[in-house]
């Protein structure tokens, strides 16, 4: 598998404005992004899946994703699945108990803030599992992460909105097909000095398959297409 930058987990919160649980999702996601796992996580605004471009919609195909929803409508999880890819984990904050004890969507009570902390820790545990990291539960940190001891105070979350995952749209068997991360894969193979010939084809396809499901019937034509495109890429960047 090529190393296309360090693997990170995507956190997508519904941020629902009508119920306190929506604010819990937002604050819990921010706590993970800013404090608990700042170097292991990224986020994107949910509406970008509809309002953004193909690169934004590739988000959950590129990153294993934790969707955090306030209620059983599960807007974040379902929208992510519809527009991008099925989240690896779906968390719903509403637990059937009286939500008023959490406060309002605008101002959470102490109980609401405790729920934020609980949900944030739950998200962080899923992040560690998805990345294969061991947790230091007392410190709330991931062990084995190079920056895990780094002080993250003062760090502010940033979104991946608009930056997009690089994609390439090619014609495969007479139709347009979008390949997530293909420009990154080509760049890395080129940098590694891998020749655009048959000796590289299998490895190239292995990398492409990580981010792109390929139907069995398309396998052969796709392999030819990808190698041809890689050859053209190498000639362009020669």
């Amino acid at each position: 598998m090529p190393d296309l930058g360090r693997k990170k987990v995507g956190i997508i919160a519904c941020s629902g404005e009508e119920i306190p649980e929506g604010t819990v999702t937002r604050l819990a996601a921010l706590k993970v992004l800013e404090t608990l796992r700042p170097h292991e996580t990224v986020t994107i605004c949910l509406p970008l899946f509809l309002a953004g471009g193909e690169g934004d919609r590739a988000f959950a195909r590129f990153h294993p994703t934790v969707a955090v929803d306030g209620c059983e409508k599960r807007c974040a999880a379902r929208s992510t699945e519809i527009y991008s890819s099925k989240p690896a984990v779906s968390i719903v904050v509403h637990d059937g108990a009286d939500a008023t004890r959490l406060g309002t969507a605008r101002r959470l009570t102490e109980a609401g803030m405790k729920r934020v902390n609980d949900v944030a820790e739950q998200i962080a545990r899923h992040v560690d599992q998805l990345l294969g990291l061991k947790s230091d539960r007392r410190a709330g940190r991931a062990l084995g992460s190079p920056e895990s001891q780094e002080d993250s105070k003062g760090r502010q979350a940033t979104c991946s909105c608009g930056s997009g995952i690089p994609v390439a749209t090619l014609r495969l068997a007479g139709r347009e097909a979008t390949f997530v991360a293909l420009p990154l894969i080509f760049a890395q193979f080129r940098e590694a000095g891998k020749l655009p010939d048959d000796s590289t084809q299998a490895e190239l396809m292995e990398a492409v398959r990580i981010y792109n499901p390929i139907a069995d019937e398309d396998e052969a034509s796709c392999a030819d297409l990808i190698l041809r495109e890689y050859r053209a890429y190498c000639q362009r960047s020669h």
Partner: protein, 136 residues
Amino acid sequence: MKGKVAIVPCSGIGKSYGSVAREGAFEVTHDLCREKTRLVPLALLVLGDDEARSALAETQAITIDGCRLACAAKVVAESGGTVAHKLRVFDVFRRHRNLKPSGIAELDENGKKLARILADEIKELVEGMQGGTGGA
């Protein structure tokens, strides 16, 4: 125009401007124009929730976006809603450059002041749309 004016903030999670949009929407719908406005969550529109789409169909919307990608305005239009006013937090900030907001989970004082100014501007727009005075 029928029904309450729909207020749709982006609630963007990666920038302070998104939090200003969210707080400004709360200020309008909870305090300044409670009887004349209704907050419609963007996440429900993204999912295509019938109730949220119906709420848009019956009225006009004011969208509040925290960045140039204008998710709220685009999603409301995509959902069949009528956008009467597309607001951008950055435009409000440009008129009040001394109020550079900071923080996302917790807005700083500048952010809160900017949200209040944004809410006042929305209140005026709502009053203009309904041809009367606002108020709770």
